[in-house]
Symmetry: C2
Subunit: 314 residues, 2 copies
């Protein structure tokens, strides 16, 4: 049996010296021109062509970032957009990333009432129990939505514990209108997001969920807003690793992200998707490498690692 998810994640972060994660959010229309110009990958109206291009691109990105970062996050929305065939591509890339020794986070944002959550947990967190699916690998962790309360999350916790996998519950998301629900002020003066944070930390501390590192297999998705609120969330969730979206293209800077870490430099995994994935659209990199898109991605990934490293407390 493999080690506790948080312990594995922390070890991988230490090994790479970088608490970061690259998000695979591939959009065919934005793939490198020399890739989508190639025969067999060049027909935007042909599903096989599109998904082959997406696979090829993501495989290259996985190869490029695997020596540099400990983890990738694969957003299922970008694959479900292509129906059943897209879901196959999603699982293909989970396997590729896993084979490249990356920790793989399936960004699926699932949740339902208990029994149904248990089924989602099986299908998204546990490796298949059917010979026909031999070779299919489930992610190391997935994201879940807390709107149902504990009994919508519990079945995920059970499967994750059994399978040495992990979870990240959405606490504070990066979109502007998140405040409409997460930012509502409660009778006691706290916000919904803060209350959800407290709940998630309590759930995270449940029987058998904490690893040797002191972190739980249940982490939290936290997109920092301002320094004060981020400090509050960090203090409210000592049991939880934070998965921090929005670095780069979504506009969060390293400075804003600093407070997601504990003073010992642990506690957060910072994700960048578009700023790394589409670095070949950025003149900063094309000036150096022209159309060598792989080198642009690699340089952007190293810049991302350096930017985060510069703010991690030590």
């Amino acid at each position: 049996m493999s080690a506790h998810f948080a312990d594995r994640l922390l070890a991988a972060i230490r090994a790479k010296g970088a608490p970061v994660c690259v998000g695979l959010d591939p959009v065919y229309q934005r793939l490198p021109a020399d890739l989508t110009a190639r025969a067999g990958l060049d027909d935007a109206r042909d599903l096989e062509s599109v998904l082959d291009a997406v696979r090829e691109f993501c495989r290259a990105v996985i190869r490029i970032v695997a020596p540099i970062v400990p983890a990738v996050k694969i957003n299922s929305a970008f694959f479900e957009r292509y129906y059943t065939d897209g879901v196959e591509a999603y699982f293909d890339l989970v396997r590729e990333a896993s084979a490249a020794k990356l920790i793989v986070i399936g960004d699926v944002k699932r949740a339902d009432i208990g029994h149904s959550s248990g089924l989602y947990a099986r299908g998204h967190l546990s490796d298949p129990d059917f010979a026909a699916l031999d070779g299919l690998v489930a992610p190391d962790a997935i994201t879940v939505n807390p709107y149902f309360g504990l009994d919508g999350i519990k079945p995920f916790l059970e499967v994750a514990r059994e399978q040495s996998k992990g979870l990240f519950a959405l606490v504070q998301t990066s979109n502007p209108s998140a405040i409409e629900v997460q930012g509502l002020t409660l009778a006691d003066g706290t916000t919904v997001g803060e209350r959800v944070a407290a709940l998630v930390n309590t759930w995270a501390g449940g029987d058998g969920l904490l690893g040797d590192s002191g972190y739980s297999l249940l982490g939290a998705v936290v997109s920092p807003r301002d320094e004060t609120s981020t400090r509050k969330l960090r203090a409210a969730m000592p049991n939880c690793m934070f998965l921090v979206p929005g670095f780069g293209a979504q506009g969060k800077t390293a400075e804003q992200i600093r407070n997601c870490f504990k003073p010992d430099g642990t506690g957060a995994l910072v994700n960048a998707s578009r700023s790394v994935l589409y670095a070949y659209e950025d003149t900063k990199y094309t000036q150096m490498y022209a159309s060598q898109w792989e080198r642009c991605v690699e340089h952007a990934c190293r810049d991302f690692v350096a930017a985060v490293a510069s703010i991690v407390p030590d």
Copy 2:
């Protein structure tokens, strides 16, 4: 172009004289014994056998209920549990139910930040734009999670409007611990669920979203608790059809559900899953039909229709 979703739904309800929906939540282990004993369907460890049995069962249920009810709800969790192959079975059954002239609700509970929500909306609500997927049909409506606020929902609204499809946002779910988040009391004395209800009603009233019936393409999932809170939610969401889970097996009675309807008898679609699907486990029906499970399901479906009809205001 087909009619507005709410208008279509109301017409279908009128045509069948029954504001009800049957939920397809198939669990292999509970399928009728004479089905899972059949060669080719009898191996619980073989994925093809399991999914063929699930398909066969659900197809039969679709055939049985199609003349009686206007709609079915297919919960994706029960299919994603079987990974990629399960997702294929999900879309197969969406097509089957659609071909049987049922309104099909994909109970997928998706949501993400804007751009990703747009991709989920494409992949789950719009019929495919690829020749390779010819024959694949998307549901008429899906369920969505409101935790992201409006910009997580807006892309779904746009695709739904464009495609004459519908949505149901989770407002009050049926699980006991839903109150941990949805039941939190806000500074103004209302609850999170009530505030979400007000938001959903506002979103539902957006430009071009209301049909001739006065209902929006955006409805709400509302599991009634007590009479007072249900009346409040009904008053807070005049624009919204309610999708009401939990009839039968989840313990809600027709009486509890009455207040989900407006005084004119419209406004709700009541769902029963297990109490109809697994009627052949209920001695009430097996006493009449022994192992003729199809007749048990049909009788339970008619009983469900009658129970709901008896409480709809007229």
